[in-house]
Subunit: 320 residues, 6 copies
């Protein structure tokens, strides 16, 4: 489709620093907008970090990601995919969270995404911390468990924190498996590294069939080989893509709350997404961008570039 | 007037960090919007610093000012004026400049403001450097010279720079006087200070009747006395208000390109505007906020607060 | 008392940048330490910002305040009080919060302070956001309502946020009055300013007898006069002192989540505390220092200096 | 040649932070200096960013590059070339631009370089934005078109911006080809990447015979292979070297206005220059270093190191 | 005198960001320069912080002060003194210290200043930490003790640190009195404040007749009254002026190693110097500017402005 | 051994930002602590940068490293070594230096380490600049020369600076060889790069048998091969491990005084240490972390991670 309404404003026409910033300079089409039903892929801000156990800040992520995303242009310079011509994309605005009530916030998020899914819109979310993925999955996987390709330096498969707390940014996928939102045999986690509390998360993964590819294996095998395995695990079924910016090395992405050294560089950060072309992506998120720690703004630009690469993968899956 | 359409989103409903940022969380009503004609005061971004002779950056001002202005609430805590209930305010968006062509940019600016003025909208501009005031005045003062209250540490009355260059952020008001846009006998400049090239600007001011109140005089007489004189100079005729953020001491407003020490503090920065209640303000600007040098974001918040105080003064002038 | 165990390490002996940092280089005496019972004033870190509605960060406050407080020396340069000789002071360590569970965190805080109060120790807390004051007051005012001198740019007397949420950093003192922890007729709030949502908080204050001294009144009357009134309101009964760093102008204290321009400078920030000498202070806190926004570290040093000035006021009250 | 006058001050004699900073601590030999005629390679500051379409700042580049270059020592640690013994190098000072007049600035630049070229001095320029290369080439290629090795993430081959503007930092080499300053068949552009407006620039390149080596090809083939091709393209004729710092990944070079992720690391940033030894380099520039965005100063040091590596390549070309 | 050679480059001719930076854009006239003997006031960089007991950094002061001083213009905007027309001023370059040998550095400094004094040049030094003043005074006061006006938050009159160390930035004036370089009855210290180790320094001051005016006294009496006393103390004899940037409040001057809250603002920072017009100033320094902690560059600009104000006071003393 | 006293506090129990920070949240066991004799590996802070010839700051390293090390967990995610279960580790506190007296500081350091070595504790030091290694080696190698694996971008083998100064951070290993503390035939230096003063250091290395592996050789051969050679050189004898953070590329470790581009990434930074498992490590240091230049805190976290990796290597050597 190619309705000009859904095309971004070009930097040849309006300088990148000008204009009210929306994601990738797309039209702002909140749920009450008359053209909401036409949207095929909805970019959504989820400014919520209620599950953060260490350094907060991702609540400020969507605003900074919108700002940085004004640098994104029309075509992918490697694959030459033009996502905004292939799919009607729009900025659906932000979900309003309740910063002082975790359970209330999760409910608000799920309700918003239920409306998005009901409209047939594929959501691409800018978080927020990683707990965001859980209430999103409750909407996206309402009709049955989905597979997941998950880039991260942590498994986020822990059971509880601080003596029994079940909902933090370290537990979303443990809950998602328990709630039947994820098909663990179609889940792969890539890039896990850093010092470990214990092996409880990995024992759980093994027990339910989640495949963990630690970072040393990525370095040893190379990205094409690892991603071929990831595609095979996800298969052709509906698949969620969850990208924690701390997957990337903190030299390239310092603006995050729980950085872990030893990750991929920024070229590899995009390459892994490019390798997902053809998957049946039913939703995606880019989480844990934390502006208070992003002193050059580079993390936000990297995040926006990853979001663009995800759009290109979605466009290719749609065409495939 | 009190149409809820023109009311800002409250921080009790949506957290301040959420949502696509517009000035003070007002509705985004660009010239092609169906309700444009209803707007009474239009907040406009002018992201242009083509006249900057030293450190550039104000082109990034409008975006940061929108972000910071999400902290502004409904009522003035001193005067208890509620500007958004008193006047239909909206964010008219940005004027798109041409960063590589100074004269083209000035034309674009003037054309935009001509449309605003034609619609009967009073413009409140977020710059941009101080050269912005000139193409705005060409529209605002199209039907005759206006008075001006000007807060700054520099007179911006120089003739030329670099061997004959007539348009820089140090010359707008020299040009405005020459072009008959300002009535110099109704112009007052407050806060001038710092080391000086020479006295050429002050000689010009004296020759045409502009009143300069240097900073040492402000310190000596106090703000109420100085502002009483300023009100008397501006009188009851149409008056433009131009506020260069470098009027304020750089400890309070570091984010600017030509800071000058020895200025007022942030309380005084608002107090001088509060003293303008009752004037017939036909346009206003807040210029020279430069985000690359605003490392805490405090300058932008101060700038947004000054813009709010200007709105309150406008509302009082309207009521008066 | 003057047991050397309770004396800080001097910068003449160990450079300020050396050593494991405790508050003011005092001994670290957690509740299980053999000398806990000897402590008279306990400095406590409360790294919790679960009630923050806008920019988070105060959870990192205690660590940065400990670091900055290594600059504090033995004697007050104005009053020449030597608090560490007058009272047995110690760093009691941090209360461990639950960052993902607000109600659990409040319980943990109250339990910790009950033990402190039971040991006869006067607590001086380094927050944390302003919701911290509520669970502390539940311990400190367990035997009856206390008076309060409160420095802030906000009243923190709101009822609810986000559609019914009763516990945020904007509501602690509304709850404290409702719970009978504060005697509103002995409460004074100083420095209130900035734009306002509405007058609901002030209406409540008036209805229960809380005295609000807005910032414009502070500027007009001067600090000695205002503080004389404050002392009269608090009287001779047990009084809590709550100091939100955003009372101070953000040029002097940028490191906070909800800064408000127009506040006092750093000399005045200490002067207001010095004026409290003689009060019967049964507990105190310094809250809302947010290191992610404190880019020079100056806010932390100011905060540590305020804590020292509070210690001096306590010592004088004790002697009085 | 080895006249001590042209040797840098050693860090063994004067600490690196001491002294008025010149490029690499070389003597300051402006055009009116008695020894100007003896200079063989002139390091020139071109503090001008008039062609910048997005984030300005490179006007501050020369000063920061001089400061950072005080860290450079006498010998190349890989090739052991000693450029300051091989060639009489000096800091020729800055070209004074006109920040408010683009065309005037271009004239000033060309005139300065005409004098440099007339004196037989090979210019090594520290920019400034990439439009700087055009007025330099007008002097350097006055007697006939030159070849060019160009490191960048963008082609800078666009035709116009903002509705017809022909001179921006995105157009210099389009103009240079049109003006006959470059022999397009001897031009190679290396490292191009990022999202694209369209293919207009690449279509132009193809039509005139410019070879573009996109970043994915660099990653696939490796630097030695790519640079062998680059040397073959440039051949033995007079060749200009233009190095945009945004060729390098922004983790290594954040201080630039239009960063693009996915670039080479800092070792590779030097390696590509080392591979140019033997070329007939008639001029070179290092552009787009933007101090306002270089928060660690690391971009400037990388830029200074690239300039040193260029000097070494020049020295080897001279010897070869 | 008014030889154009000794006039600064104007910002109307060369933009402020262009050119190799010297102090105030004056000519660089090191001791071996042919016109050295004509200099009347020499601006000298002393990049040495060997006496720093806490946070180092002032060794980087001179370079940043030169950079910031390019903003200084020709005339004082309050007194309208034109120092560069009144006196032949030049940048004499930096004294090369030995960062790893304190005693060797002090010798190098004294030797440099002996040559300056021998040439009849009045030195205005940009430090460096406060220990710099001691080796300077050894040259300046070689022929007899001088008076001193000293702005600071610390007395720098301590005897020893760390078990007997006699030379630190906390001891220079104790040593200077002991060595007969200062006439203590003609010494006044203004702005002293902050928490204190003990009263040993003040006891010493009292015993030798040094007058300390603590900050609370400055606030109470006002600057004109305090400075009248200071002028009376210094009298008409040869007087040294020593200005520690931490005299100023850290909101205005964060870039220093031992900041102390509660100081004067930036207007007052200049006002105190203006009040010294007429004294017989035989040397002056501005010390403790520490760029690593000066994140906006504002401290350096304040420092450069103080240096300019000192030049104006010198020019008035000379005329008087 | 596995006494819980020597186990770090878990982030599952106490959030990472809470608590008085010690190295890796280990118990604080200074020499006068009753359990000092039980410690097997002592983590020591050495906050001293007296030998720094350029940008100071490492004196602040230990405090920031303690803070960052609270992120370290119990097990190595690659080797699954659990050092805190394998060895009794503790934070021994800081050595108190004399910032204004280099020779006195060296004496203090050596005396502290003599006590540590006498207690049979293996020291792991957090510096401080690289001169720290010399006084440590005087204690560690008191009974005979040791081998050394040295990661750095500089050899630190120079003879003198500034006309004869023998003790700087550029000379420690020259002195250590001269004093018989190192067996040069068992010393390997890895990662050397950057521009060079001359070849005097390398000539010395060659003359005494020290093996230098420059960075280009590391890139060419790969880390496993290089480290196999390093292990062979060190052999089975007592070996010191010295790790200068500037070994790592400044994109990953900007917080250091003499950065050198072209170094390894953060994965490789740990990999080289992992390859040392099995060596007989009798002491180790991590030096030159300089917080004033570490604007994201990432250098400190990398440094803490290297210290953890060193502990793991020690644990494996002990088991081997």
């Amino acid at each position: 489709m190619s309705d000009p309404f859904f095309h971004p404003v070009s930097g040849f026409d309006l300088p990148r620093f000008a204009g009210v910033p929306t994601f990738m300079r797309l039209p702002h089409v909140p749920p009450d907008h008359p053209r909401f039903a036409e949207v095929e892929v909805g970019l959504i801000g989820l400014p919520w970090d209620g599950g953060t156990t260490n350094r907060p800040g991702p609540r400020h992520g969507p605003r900074q990601l919108r700002d940085a995303s004004t640098m994104i242009r029309a075509a992918n310079g490697v694959s030459w995919v033009r996502p905004f011509e292939a799919m009607a994309c729009a900025d659906l605005g932000d979900v309003g969270p309740n910063p002082a009530d975790l359970m209330d916030s999760m409910d608000r998020v799920t309700r918003f995404y239920q409306a998005v899914v009901a409209a047939g819109i594929v959501p691409l979310t800018a978080g927020g911390d990683h707990l965001c993925s859980l209430p999103i999955l409750r909407a996206v996987a309402a009709s049955g468990p989905v597979g997941m390709v998950h880039f991260d330096s942590h498994t986020d498969l822990f059971d509880t924190y601080f003596g029994g707390t079940r909902f933090t940014h370290g537990t979303p996928f443990r809950r998602a498996v328990e709630e039947g939102l994820l098909d663990p045999t179609r889940v792969v986690q890539i890039g896990i590294r850093g010092s470990a509390y214990d092996t409880e998360d990995r024992d759980f993964a093994r027990s339910v069939g989640i495949r963990i590819i630690p970072m040393e294996e990525v370095w040893a095998r190379g990205i094409p080989d690892v991603m071929a395995e990831a595609r095979a695990i996800a298969g052709s079924g509906p698949t969620y893509l969850s990208y924690d910016i701390d997957f990337v090395d903190p030299a390239f992405a310092p603006g995050t709350g729980t950085p872990e050294i030893g990750g991929p560089n920024s070229w590899q950060a995009l390459e892994v997404v490019r390798e997902l072309a053809g998957l049946n992506i039913v939703g995606a998120d880019l989480v844990e961008v934390s502006p208070p720690f992003d002193n050059t703004g580079g993390t936000a630009y990297l995040g926006a570039s990853i979001m663009f690469e995800i759009l290109c993968a979605m466009a290719q899956g749609r065409n495939g």
